[in-house]
Subunit: 216 residues, 2 copies
DNA sequence: TTAGATTAGTGAACACCGTTAACGCAAGGA
DNA sequence: TCCTTGCGTTAACGGTGTTCACTAATCTAA
């Protein structure tokens, strides 16, 4: 296989993923369909099997891409803040996280919702830092480690062990993570629409409470 | 239509929902299929349209049933605690909420996950207390109102208005709600499997932190 | 009791879906 | 030049929700 054709192949794979994402955005995760993708590309459905062994693997790769995109967005927001200001870096990453989620509800449903046929494997395969999901989590752990080194993390219980991160830092991270995950996902999934039209004040209040929980 | 046949009709509707739930439990929300239900019942698929106008409406009714079941479970746990001990009532309701969710992952994915074709309408229709979703939320609000009357709720910002509940109580409720929703759903959806095998210590720690946040 | 209306069920059909198999065609390398 | 490899096709299998036309049974009212 020549370089030329290999590059062409990679281009086609990208086009397939692009079409899949268009389906996802237009009609939700369950609407991703090989036949519709093929129709959009002007080819027939079986041809797609030259590039992906099954629909599941396509969705799995799409998940990875989305996690990378989300991480890059948060890193972009982070890098606008001076590297020493770990607190504001965390705040702006969380804000960008929420912004991205609300701007991409369908993508969020895919990667943060309950396990779907192709997505289930994604989270099962998340074992080390080479995994896109772990890399996303890491960008939030890093500033916490820096704050910990400065003694600014409140001493709490160490409930969860981790190979590289001190257990108390990791526990602190998980507590904060699930807290923001809950607010953002409840808002994104429409489970707060009965209570509030705009959850931003709640989010900002939570962010403020988080900041105040840090040792200054 | 006679009473006799109307009762028989309601019985068939219940049998349909039972078959649908069996599909749900066995293979997830997207596996609920009219043809499979019909097959299980020994009839043909079009016959089901005598009882439900479409698959969506069946799923919608199933959602309502599940919310009622979840509420009854939590109320059952609540009623084992003396009516005056509002704090322990809240704790045990939260524990039962988590227990039910972990024992029913498929049902949880349906009613607490991202919007599916039939479920979307469910949350949109949640406008007053006649809605099963609102009734579920109410059982958590009631003890908070009692604590508020005793002056045991910490004074916080009033960010969210509500017709019947004071805004500061409602804000406190939403903050606590999203916090526990986050931890429980992250666990149920497998988004914590990379970090921890059993999230119960994290949950109990959050519960304890919540309790300590109350004025004693 | 009989005639008419209502109800529950059937089978065929349409338009989708993922996936597999067999086949043709064109480009690449020996 | 041959012939292997890759890319695409058509046909087909079994699955899905849904609609339509029709039958058989049951319930109602004259």
């Amino acid at each position: 296989m020549s370089d030329r054709s290999q590059r062409r192949r990679e281009l086609t794979r990208a086009e397939i993923k692009g079409a899949a994402r268009a389906q996802l955005v237009k009609a939700g995760p369950s609407a991703i369909s090989l036949r519709a993708i093929a129709r959009d590309m002007g080819i027939t459905a079986p041809a797609l099997y030259r590039y992906y062994p099954a629909l599941d693997s396509l969705i799995l790769e799409l998940c990875t891409d989305l996690y990378v995109e989300l991480r890059l967005a948060c890193e972009g927001a982070r890098d606008l803040v001076p590297a020493e200001d770990h607190v504001k870096r965390l705040q702006d990453m969380a804000r960008e996280f929420r912004r991205w989620v609300l701007a991409h509800p369908a993508e969020t449903a895919l990667i943060f919702g309950p396990p779907m046929p192709g997505v289930e494997q994604f989270h099962e395969q998340c074992v080390d830092l080479s995994h896109a999901g772990a890399q996303f989590g890491q960008i939030f752990i890093d500033p916490l480690l820096a704050l910990h080194a400065q003694g600014r993390l409140p001493v709490g219980k160490a409930l969860v062990e981790h190979e590289e991160v001190p257990a108390d830092v990791y526990t602190f991270f998980l507590n904060a993570w699930t807290q923001f995950y809950g607010l953002i996902m409840a808002e994104a999934f429409g489970h707060l629409s009965w209570a509030v039209t705009d959850a931003e004040p709640l989010f900002e209040a939570q962010l403020e409470a988080f900041t105040e929980s840090l040792v200054s």
